[in-house]
Subunit: 341 residues, 3 copies
């Protein structure tokens, strides 16, 4: 495809030779001859020195560079669109139901589904149009699922769970296990019944081996468009808002709620019954033991506002030195050393 | 059911109108008209203002409230029993073996089992009465399992593992993988043989996608009545005592032992070869690098006694200010600033 | 086997009575009568008091002990070899393909494979000699796998992944899910296409329920001989070097690279785009937010050089006391207390 044509397809301004042939797209570190690459930030222009790329996607206001360029308001988005132009998503498999799949007679699966080998679909399950269920997916009874559902191998959906449109479950994800609710009694630990369910709203994506537990009452909810990475734990009764990103190995204890557009780093832990405001961000590995205000950025264990955390972390390695300096000061003043605690 | 009848069924004292009709049970935040709710603590009585609940379970010594009430020594337990009255657990599926299950000829499965689609049971496996094996459960050879076993979809039990009565494995749990034991040698990393096994005692429950590794020698043991949440890791050679609760994403490194009734918060990590005493509690996200005495409450990374941790955490954000104040003191004393380390 | 014969088989020097019969091997804490045990360190000799072991493997330079002993340059390695002598690994199952396995017509599986029940192998997959695929393993299309592959129950390999010789996947491992790459836009969160793949080099072992994500471009690589424990997360674009050991529940964010022989403790988290040098070690539960030099030992959150971390951790619990002492000093100097921040 000529660069000029690409500019048209992406709605970008062209600068330089539009007749050159673009054969693929690639990030700057992998760019081969003939590729279109991109820089998200005009300050990165030095990275173009010595590149083999044939052209570059740049912010509209970036200075001119030696290569031919396309100018975009959101260069990374334009790059993603270019990737999709050169590498269209593989077409869905031809609708079919594998003969080894076990589908209950009362299940209703809308047309155009692809049901792989060894899939199990329970009684009274309803699945919308165009579902793709890979090998070994297990859907328990009474589950409701919208259109364009994709479940990768061995994903499990427990009884009664409700799933919206265009939801993706990656391999090994488990939706709707009973929550970890128990009553320790003198004669042993008694399970608290879990009458509730899980609701995954439209456009939710759930990572590999991630688990979302059902509520004791009502529902654990993952909001529209939210993406959970691999090995994430969402406990019973949590309410995760729409458009959140929750990175790998993060965990929410019971009944915690995230607002809209919350960004959660990897390995973050939230205590139970916390409220995290809209647009809040929590840095990787933080431990959150209280509410987080809307649009706040938190970090640390225990998590605090990120600017305070950075100052704290900067001072922390000086602590042993402070002990020595304080003792020197005390000696200068003739103050007795305190007993060690 | 009339409130009077419910009082009898639960063994509670009735105060107020026993003739009202109770249609369901619900926690205070979800209580609809006609429901019985509960307050675990008399100090929470203000939460009853404006509730739509028809009646409330209260501690025996709570003051009178506007609603009719039932008085119980353990209101939460009485509430759980009320939930079970109104929502009896679904009856087990009618015993059957799905024709797609693959059961070795030498396996012995006691009567009344329900064996779902695509289950695999290996040679010489013995399973007690009333087992429920959901879709795709895989039991390797030479496993012994007691009565009333429940395994959810795709749970895996490796060869030779021994499992007691009334054990529940949630979806994707893996019991008995070889432990992470290696010998780094100049020509590569050599696996240490794992001759041992895993023992899950009676009434153990294992969460979704949790892993319990087999010991190199002897057995990794999870004690009677202990509950493991989702995505927990129990390494080779650990001995988890009875009646422990281990929350999600917690991990025990090799050969660590927990006593009886230990409570472990989410994302806690234990180093290897530690001994945690009976009744100890470790707060969420702590990192435990040494033994913990019986009945101690630990928190932090590295974990220390919780009262000390709280004082430390309270002082921590003041550290940058302390640096400035100490410099001010040194200047007042004419002391030279130390070189930065 | 007589101790004398064992000395010969292991290439060890014999001291004491070589005619005694050795019936098994066991670590010191489990040693029964007639067993050979070992001490890795000569300073542990006191542990032999009262042992029931018949003989002991010792470092070459250890002083004489009451028991007959074998002397080895690497006693633990000699012990492992003794274990393998007494407990040879079970022979592979007789090659066979279970009739419930679903193998695409275009897949090529070399001779001597054992393919268990409900295995699924996709189109154009190539698998080398002597593979063992346990129940329910799912190999998506276009995967290439070397010789002597072992995959435990329900392991999943996504499309196009490339796997070397002698690789082991434990139960529930997921190789090749799309990475967690998204573009938050005003109208929702858009997935970034993931054109890349995963490469597992020769002799890699992947723990139960561990996930390795595919790269957006190029490949996520796990180097030759590297071992990943259970519930580990390797994000898109990471490059893990050869001969690394990554313990359970550790996680690498996107595009981080580990050098050769890196040792990573349990629950460690690496931020994205970090470079960890050859032979570096990171202690359990550390949070690494920057590069780590070759052969450095890091610990803590945020992780720093381990000697500095130990000094810091030693001083940390004294922080509340420092606040009080500093206030005392300020009072002695007549300095005003600063306002609380």
């Amino acid at each position: 495809m000529k660069l000029r044509e690409l500019a048209g397809a992406l709605g970008c301004e062209l600068r330089g030779d539009g007749e050159i042939e673009i054969v693929d797209v690639a990030p700057i570190e992998d760019a081969l001859a003939g590729t279109l690459t991109f820089l998200a930030d005009r300050r990165l222009a030095a990275q173009l020195d010595g590149t083999r790329a044939a052209a570059v996607l740049l912010p509209a206001d970036a200075p001119d560079v030696a290569l031919p360029s396309l100018r975009a308001g959101h260069p990374y988005l334009a790059f993603v669109e270019a990737v999709e132009l050169f590498h269209p998503a593989p077409s869905r498999p031809v609708p079919a139901v594998h003969p080894t799949a076990v589908i209950a007679t009362s299940a209703q699966i809308a047309p155009e589904a692809w049901i792989g080998p060894h899939v199990v679909v329970g009684e009274r399950v309803r699945i919308g149009r165009g579902a793709t269920l890979h090998a070994g997916v297990a859907i328990y009874p009474d589950v409701t699922i919208g259109d364009a559902f994709i479940a990768h191998a061995h994903a499990v959906v427990r009884e009664g769970v409700r799933i919206g449109d265009r939801v993706v479950l990656h391999a090994g994800a488990v939706i709707g296990s009973e929550g970890f609710g128990y009553l320790p009694l003198p004669d042993g630990i008694r399970r608290v019944p879990h009458l509730g369910t899980v609701v995954l709203e439209d456009d939710v994506e759930v990572g590999a081996n991630t688990t979302v537990d059902r509520a004791a009452f009502g529902a654990t909810v993952v909001g529209r468009g939210t993406k959970l990475d691999n090995l994430v734990m969402i406990a019973h009764g949590c309410r995760v808002g729409p458009a959140c990103l929750v990175a790998a190995q993060a965990g929410l204890a019971g009944s915690t709620s995230l607002g809209m557009g919350v960004m959660v780093g990897g390995q973050v832990g939230f205590a139970g019954h916390q409220t995290i405001g809209d647009g809040a961000q929590v840095a990787a590995k933080s431990g959150v033991h209280g509410d987080v205000p809307a649009r706040a950025v938190y970090s640390g264990y225990p998590a605090i506002e990120v600017a305070r955390w950075r100052r704290l972390v900067g001072a922390l390695p000086r602590l042993p030195e402070l002990v020595r300096r304080l003792r020197r000061v005390e000696r200068a003043l003739g103050l007795a050393a305190p007993k060690d605690d």
